[in-house]
């Protein structure tokens, strides 16, 4: 945890070097969604030019999430994988008021606690999937629910994934049943700039606002390689060099847009510059307040994107898919950029030919923030199994990957990619009580998530199917609902 926080500070520092921006500090308690979400706009008014947004109303779709009712919960005598240190045997964890109150081998149950026997079972942090299209490519699919790619322009940095998310997507309760508690919903990869991501809690709600993770920074989906050049082959970009020209051109314009707004924010002289939704997003990337999450397969392209980021003074938070990350793990480390990968997808297109199962282990061993991701509603339900494959492949390749390292690939490392590692991703006192109780070792093919808590509230219980979340779609259409 200490290393995490330090690294985070360093990164924040680096971003601030050019723009002395106050970071939108994570709110210490989870029930102040409104205040936390509103803080960027307060900053922009209060400190013009210093990480300011382009406009006073910078958070027009604020989170309305509030933790569900919870009971003080004590899980005893379990194997606890904290993602913050060595696995604890015969240990207990106490959840109260949405937070983790204590973890260890000498914790005792308060009298008011619901006690759950964890004998033979495992406890991990809630899984975080940083690459999902749930809600934007909702089941059952078809054109009516095809809302993930605004494939009308290579630069659609003006779209926001949350405006496509359907909260009744029946896939949401299914990933919750797989232990996923936080998810980054990204636009598709048709465009160089796909749009803003949405960071969501996997909870039942009528509105996407009710799922939005309070205080989470937005991500920006960018995409390398074959997809944009294929989609825009007739109008351009139709080549990889066209792609790179597209990113650079956009950031040149965004830098100018930012300069105008920073100037106006500083002196309020004359009328404010004209707003541009896409430029607002890119300007926030340049200010370090929106985290670029970039779909990129090939090593050489990732290396070029690291240079593009340097040219414009921003950081790519993580490359996604990154099937060749193992070839340039040293460069990723030097640049402080993470990599979100599959365990073993590859071969389905030319830029995916060189996928290897030891990718995550090799990248981790090189000192890079390595993590699993799904990009797939089925895989998202079994990220523990994906990590297991990657872990054992690492060992087969001669890398000493422990379970304590591998657990981070689906918890604290993806939390870092979202800049939420101070709130979620590990089982430590004070953190959000996002917790999964597994029937056995999560790296066994036979283990299943039995119970899942988000902010201390048990939202999935395999032993009580009648109480589990069923979306509107599940009603009637699906015999039995989420299973």
């Amino acid at each position: 945890m200490r290393t995490t926080s330090l690294l985070l500070l360093c990164l924040a520092g680096a971003a601030c070097a050019q723009t002395p921006a106050p970071t939108t500090a994570p709110s210490p308690s989870s029930n102040v969604a409104t205040a936390s979400a509103a803080s960027p706009s307060r900053d922009s008014v209060g400190r013009p030019g210093a990480g300011a947004l382009s406009l006073p109303n910078a958070n027009p779709f604020p989170s309305t999430y509030a933790p569900f009712p919870s009971r003080t919960t004590f899980i005893r005598n379990a194997t606890i994988m904290t993602a913050a240190g060595p696995t604890l045997q015969n240990a207990s964890i106490l959840l109260r008021d949405g937070k983790i109150v204590a973890v260890g081998t000498s914790v005792t149950a308060p009298s008011d606690a619901v006690v759950i026997d964890g004998t033979g079972k495992y406890v991990t942090p809630g899984i975080i999937d940083v690459h999902s299209h749930l809600g934007v490519y909702a089941a059952p699919g078809g054109g009516g629910l095809n809302d993930g790619n605004e494939a009308t322009n290579p630069n659609t940095s003006y779209v926001w994934a949350e405006h496509s998310v359907w909260p009744q997507d029946p896939q949401f309760p299914r990933i919750l049943a797989g232990g996923v508690t936080t998810v980054q919903i990204l636009p598709g990869s048709a465009n160089l700039f796909g749009g803003r991501s949405a960071i969501l809690k996997v909870v039942p709600t009528r509105t996407v606002q009710g799922m939005k993770f309070p205080g989470a920074k937005y991500g920006l989906k960018m995409a390398c390689g074959e997809n944009p050049k294929r989609v825009y082959s007739s109008r351009g970009p139709s080549t990889r060099m066209g792609n790179v020209a597209g990113y650079r051109t956009a950031y040149i314009q965004a830098a100018e847009y930012r300069r105008k707004w920073d100037e106006w924010n500083a002196n309020h002289k004359g009328p404010p510059p004209t707003r541009d939704l896409g430029q607002e997003t890119l300007a926030e990337v340049l200010r370090g307040d929106i985290l670029p999450q970039m779909h990129c397969y090939r090593a050489d392209e990732m290396a070029q994107m690291l240079d593009v980021a340097k040219e414009f003074g921003f950081k790519i938070r993580a490359f996604h898919h990154a099937v060749e990350a193992y070839k340039i793990a040293d460069l990723l480390r030097e640049n402080g950029t993470g990599a979100a990968m599959w365990a073993d997808w590859g071969g389905f297109k030319e830029e995916a030919m060189d996928g290897i199962r030891a990718n995550i282990a090799l990248v981790d061993a090189a000192g890079v923030r390595a993590m699993i991701h799904s990009d797939d509603p089925s895989g998202s339900q079994r990220l523990n199994q994906e990590v297991a494959k990657a872990m054992y492949a690492g060992r087969a390749a001669g890398i000493n990957v422990t379970e304590d390292m591998a657990i981070k690939w689906m918890t604290i490392n993806p939390a870092w990619a979202l800049d939420l590692d101070s709130k979620i991703g590990s089982l430590e006192t004070g953190k959000n009580a996002d917790v999964v109780l597994w029937s056995g070792d999560p790296f066994s093919v036979y283990s299943k998530a039995e119970k899942v808590w988000i902010d201390g509230s048990m939202l999935f219980n395999r032993d009580d199917p009648a109480q589990n979340w069923r979306t509107d779609f599940d009603l009637g259409f699906v015999n039995g609902g989420a299973r």
Binding site: W345, F348, E350, G355, P377, K389, F443, S444, Y446, F477
Partner: protein
């Protein structure tokens, strides 16, 4: 890696030195013959590419090469009952796609998919190295996609790899548009007309050749290819997910006395008793529970377990996710089976579903799918439970030859394990 490289070298040497004369005794392991009960401390004796004995009291000839499997699991090689391995190399690259025939108005019955088999595919090794020794290579698309073949994953020419062909005719009742029709009823009607035309053609060949027969809806080649299907000799493997589509396929099978296999079968559990009564097998995955389309609203992970318990013959295939990753990951069929166990199938049934049952479905159970005297020596030695992630494959034999060899993925892993790679450093 070192282990792999060594075993590869050994295998290469053995192959060079008249492997067919070689006797191999795999001893000490827990042997799962699949055709019978597990044998503790069992021996599998292999000679001339065949299994010659399996049991607890098998005498090992003095000249046999002994493979110590103490504490390990020995099973038949795994069989993936439906894949495009060898037909498609890179999904996104059309020049490497040979699974979908153009056909004539949605019918491509005469398409022998294996004629385009890529014996040099880089995708064989990853599957083979993880215990898959046989696959059913199946075409896709249209109403009738074409013919499937059963292929052993040996290092050899295409002709050497093909074990038997055809083993099935592939069709679908899932997607009317794909069949060049506009509605489900029209699709079934089109299939019925085709079957009637085949039967007519069968008895009117001479008239047909004199152009004296009524007009038929398929080409001569397609009608010819369909004859074994209407004779009930060649299984018609029908892609069907929605329970009504499955029932429709069952009715059609009854009407025409067809031998059918349901493939996909997302909602098959809702027709489990009917499938069992009709002795119609199902080929399905075990990791899908998403209503991904209006045809698959009720798909659930318990599907194969429910079918198996109802007495339906089930083969498990890898069909997790979007399918993009499938060819790279034919090796993952064992994990699909493990997930089936998690959702109610017995371990015994799940192992059978990736070995003997697919062999039976495609008429090759006398050669592969079980460890019995007289069968091809397709044998895998595992460090533990074949379905567990922690298990390593230690030996893979196909026709009695050790076939593990570094895959392209292994070579890449070796090359980049230390950065910068050797080719970039200047000593």
């Amino acid at each position: 890696m070192k282990r792999l490289t060594l075993s590869v070298l050994c295998a290469a040497l053995l192959t060079a030195a008249a492997a067919h004369a070689q006797t191999i005794a795999i001893t000490g392991g827990t042997v799962y013959p699949v055709s019978g009960a597990p044998i503790q401390n069992g021996t599998v004796l292999i000679r001339d590419g065949k299994i010659i004995a399996v049991g607890a009291d098998v005498a090992v000839p003095a000249n046999a090469q002994r493979v110590d499997a103490t504490g390990k699991i020995v099973t038949p090689g795994l069989i993936d009952a439906s894949t495009q391995l060898g037909l498609v190399e890179i999904g996104g690259e059309p020049s490497t796609r040979d699974a979908n025939a153009r056909g004539t108005d949605g019918v491509a019955a005469s398409f022998r998919s294996w004629d385009g088999l890529n014996s040099e595919s880089v995708l064989w090794a990853p599957a083979r190295n993880e215990g898959v020794t046989t696959v059913v290579v199946a075409p896709a698309g249209g109403l009738v996609a074409g013919q499937a073949a059963i292929v052993d994953l040996i290092n050899g020419t295409g002709a050497q790899m093909i074990r038997r062909a055809p083993v099935a005719m592939v069709a679908q009742v899932n997607n009317p548009r794909g069949a060049q029709t506009g509605a489900r009823g029209e699709l079934i009607g089109k299939l019925r007309t085709l079957l009637e035309d085949v039967k007519f053609y069968q008895t009117h060949r001479a008239d047909y050749d004199r152009s004296a027969a009524r007009s038929l809806t398929a080409t001569r080649a397609d009608l010819e290819a369909m004859i074994p299907v209407v004779e009930g000799k060649l299984p018609l493997a029908i892609d069907a997910d929605r329970v009504d589509d499955i029932q429709g396929a069952l009715r059609l099978a009854k009407e025409f006395n067809l031998k059918i296999i349901i493939v996909g079968g997302a909602e098959a559990w809702l027709a489990a008793n009917d499938l069992a009564a009709a002795h119609v097998p199902v080929i399905a995955g075990a990791m899908n529970n998403i209503p991904t389309s209006f045809e698959t609203l009720n798909q659930r992970q318990e599907n194969v377990g429910i079918l198996s318990k109802a007495g339906v013959a089930v083969a498990i295939i890898g069909n997790n996710g979007d399918g993009d990753e499938e060819l790279f990951n034919v090796r993952n069929v064992k994990y699909e089976a493990g997930n089936a166990v998690s959702y109610g199938m017995t371990h015994e049934a799940a192992l059978r579903a990736v070995t003997l049952t697919p062999a039976e479905l495609f008429g090759v159970a006398d050669r592969v799918g079980s460890l019995q005297a007289g069968r091809d020596a397709n044998v895998v030695v595992w460090s533990g439970d074949p379905f567990e992630f922690s298990t390593r494959v230690e030996h893979v034999y196909i026709h009695g030859q050790e076939v593990m060899s570094p895959s392209r993925q292994d070579l890449l892993t070796q090359r980049y394990k230390t950065l910068p790679p050797r080719y970039e450093s200047h000593p």
